[in-house]
């Protein structure tokens, strides 16, 4: 039982990261139906911004988190303006290929600028262990979990209760109708990219802090896992991405903990396949006919 609880804590910490990255996938998909494969690399850039800010400027964890989120928001908007906006009326496959191109550009560019090797993220937050009976939780795990929850609550509030959130929902339902109603569609899409990228940036800093190892290719696998999390919960649906992220993190941990770590990725992909067969719209998704 102790071990199970311990594994759940490990799983939720890992799941928090997936959930934060998955939110960006799902929001961008929800609004322009683009699977932004460069999203995992934004998460990587977030980690690098945090790394530079903490090592070169000597700032602490929370300033680094905020700066990294702001930096990633800016990068996300820039990418959208340069790479995706000109293709908004092109076929979906064109935008998808472009996203893969952007992903490679960011990876190779970071390798060129920051070096290809692993960098050590400084230990900017004292890591202490708190014991609950035999279960140990580190302060870093608590920080990861609480930052994730706070950001999710803030996002839910933003989407459901604010004017800009209403604009986002309107554009995601029907961009043309939204434009007729006076919604600035371009600004809303940019805003969506900014929010999604900021969340990925936060995840990057959290991962840097938790594992203290970052490298230019660190976004690839978590990017794919987060994408699976988004699909699992129903792509385009915000609570679905949160649920999916935590679920994938916990499943991965339990498979490694009770079976073999060689199987953890296989099981995650197997879940994806089963979901796509049984419930293509995702766990929380509704089967709606696509308007053509």
């Amino acid at each position: 039982m102790t071990q199970f609880l311990q594994q759940m804590i490990n799983g939720l910490s890992l799941g928090s990261i997936y959930a934060l990255v998955a939110l960006g996938y799902t929001m961008v998909y929800g609004i322009i139906k683009l699977i932004n494969f460069a999203h995992g690399d934004i998460y990587m850039l977030g980690a690098y911004i945090g790394f530079i800010v903490t090592t070169k400027l000597g700032l602490g964890f929370f300033p680094a988190l905020v700066i990294s989120m702001a930096g990633c928001a800016l990068i996300g908007v820039t990418i959208e303006r340069i790479a995706y906006k000109p293709l908004r009326n092109a076929t979906r496959i064109t935008a998808l290929i472009t996203a893969i191109g952007v992903s490679y550009f960011l990876e190779a560019g970071t390798q060129r600028v920051m070096g290809a090797g692993v960098q050590t993220f400084p230990n900017v937050l004292a890591n202490e262990t708190i014991m609950f009976g035999d279960v140990r939780i580190s302060t870093q795990q608590i920080v990861i979990f609480s930052v994730t929850i706070v950001l999710m609550v803030a996002l839910t509030f933003l989407v459901n209760k604010t004017k800009v959130g209403r604009a986002m929902r309107a554009v995601s339902v029907d961009p043309d109708a939204a434009r007729l109603m006076g919604v600035n569609v371009d600004a809303t899409i940019s805003f969506t990219f900014a929010i999604g990228s900021a969340l990925a940036g936060a995840a990057g800093v959290l991962v840097g802090l938790y594992y203290n190892s970052i490298n230019p290719l660190m976004g690839m696998l978590p990017g794919i896992k987060a994408f699976i999390a988004a699909v699992f919960g129903g792509i385009g649906i915000i609570p679905g991405a949160m649920l999916g992220g935590f679920f994938i993190g916990v499943v991965e941990t339990l498979v490694a903990g009770y079976w073999s770590s060689l199987w953890k990725d296989a099981v995650v992909y197997l879940i994806l396949i089963v979901i796509l067969i049984v419930k293509p719209a995702g766990l929380l998704g509704k089967n709606v006919k696509e308007k053509v």
């Binding site: 071990q3 594994q7 490990n10 230990n123 140990r136 594992y211 190892s213 941990t253 490694a256």
Partner: protein, 393 residues
């Protein structure tokens, strides 16, 4: 042989004199005539992992190799390095091997890792390019698929099996351990070889393998597996793998309260291990290596001083092995008196080499005969080194 060498040396002397004369009064800058890089310059290929996953090894080896070439040129040689970066990628390494065979190099040093090395040996061997591998430790890597030794391929490090067996011997004899958990990298032949050899020797010495689990290259989260290990009954943890993951495993294990001895292989040998694991977590950590600065010989000390003067940092095992490999190749070329591939090859095969990582000659598999060192880390710093020779058949 001797007369040939003499002839070669005098030819070299005449050529250098000519180049000095040609350079006129600017000759003091370039005594070896780098602007005279015509057909008399001996090209040495340096084929390493300079970017990508194991860039630390490749760059350390490149620095060692370049230092050897620089010193040879200062001593009157005329060598030019041709640098190849395989990006830590096997496919890339194969492409480069084909390219370098066409570039007319007299010999090649590298790559650093067994995987990339094994992929390129056949091509280099077919092209009759002599290869000296500084650190390709994989079992049988110098043998072709049918078990015959590659004529042109040599390595100056011991095999994984030897290293794994030595660690098992050390764990049982010196650390007095009997129950081990192995947590191995499943994506490298290097770790697989170590795991097999360690398992076999540890069992032979009466130990029990409590569990064996695997991680993949690039993994960062080991908490779930370590949590599983924590409740098991064992007294030592063996991590055959490279520093990138090993550093994080050690950190996460120590933070979780796993405070038993952790043992590993020369994949631990990197400055990055301290950065990743944290110095305070690197106690009761032991690893096998071919090189240590603890109790350095005079030759080694001279190398360390020259390396520090050149690069302003401490050399690692990999720089030392590459330094030895390059020197060995240069010695063989000078002994052969030509860059003819067969002459160089047979000079290497019969060499009695005296280097900074020890003195050795090659056995019939083109692998050197030397003993393994086990290094103890105290707060991340090498505290002690013992030579171990496992009883293997």
């Amino acid at each position: 042989m001797k007369t040939m060498k003499k002839a070669f040396m005098s030819a070299l002397a005449i050529m250098m004199a000519a180049s000095l004369a040609a350079c006129g009064d600017s000759s003091s800058d370039t005594p070896s005539g780098s602007d005279n890089s015509g057909s008399n310059t001996v090209k040495i290929g340096l084929h390493f992992e300079l970017t990508g996953e194991v860039a630390d090894y490749g760059n350390a080896e490149l620095k060692g190799a370049k230092l050897a070439i620089k010193q040879a040129n200062e001593a009157g040689g005329n060598y030019e390095e041709v640098i190849y970066d395989n990006k830590s990628d096997t496919t890339e390494a194969v492409t480069l091997a084909a390219q370098l065979a066409n570039d007319g190099v007299a010999g090649v040093v590298g790559p650093a890792t067994s995987g990339s090395s094994a992929a390129t040996y056949q091509i280099k061997n077919d092209a009759k390019v002599t290869v000296i591998s500084p650190s390709a430790t994989q079992i049988g890597v110098t043998l072709d698929p049918s078990g015959n030794v590659y004529n042109y391929v040599f390595r100056i490090c011991f095999e994984d099996s030897y290293q794994g067996a030595a660690m098992a011997q050390y764990a049982v004899d010196t650390l007095a351990k009997g129950k081990v958990i192995i947590y191995a990298d499943n994506s490298s032949d290097y770790a697989k070889g170590l795991t097999e050899a360690f398992t076999e020797q540890f069992k032979k010495l009466g130990g029990t393998i409590v569990a064996t689990d695997y991680y993949s290259k690039g993994d960062t989260d080991f908490n779930s597996v370590l949590t599983k290990f924590k409740d098991m009954d064992y007294d030592v943890l063996y991590i055959p793998g490279y520093y990138n993951e090993a550093g994080l495993i050690i950190k996460q294990a120590r933070e979780m309260g796993i405070d038993c001895e952790i043992i590993g292989s020369d994949g631990f040998d990197s400055e990055s291990l301290i950065d990743l694991a944290g110095a305070s977590n690197l106690n009761k950590v032991y690893y096998t290596t071919a090189y240590t600065t603890v109790g350095a010989s005079d030759a080694l000390q001279a190398f360390i001083d020259a390396y520090k003067a050149e690069y302003n940092e401490e050399p690692s095992m990999f720089s030392a092995l590459a330094y030895d490999s390059t020197n060995l190749l240069i010695q063989a070329i000078e002994k052969a008196g030509s860059t003819d591939s067969d002459a160089v090859r047979s000079a290497v095969e019969n060499i009695e080499f005296d280097g900074v990582t020890g003195s050795f000659s090659f056995d019939e598999t083109h692998t050197p005969i030397k003993s393994v060192l086990v290094v103890t880390l105290v707060d991340g710093v090498q505290g002690d080194a013992v030579a171990v020779s496992p009883d293997v058949d």
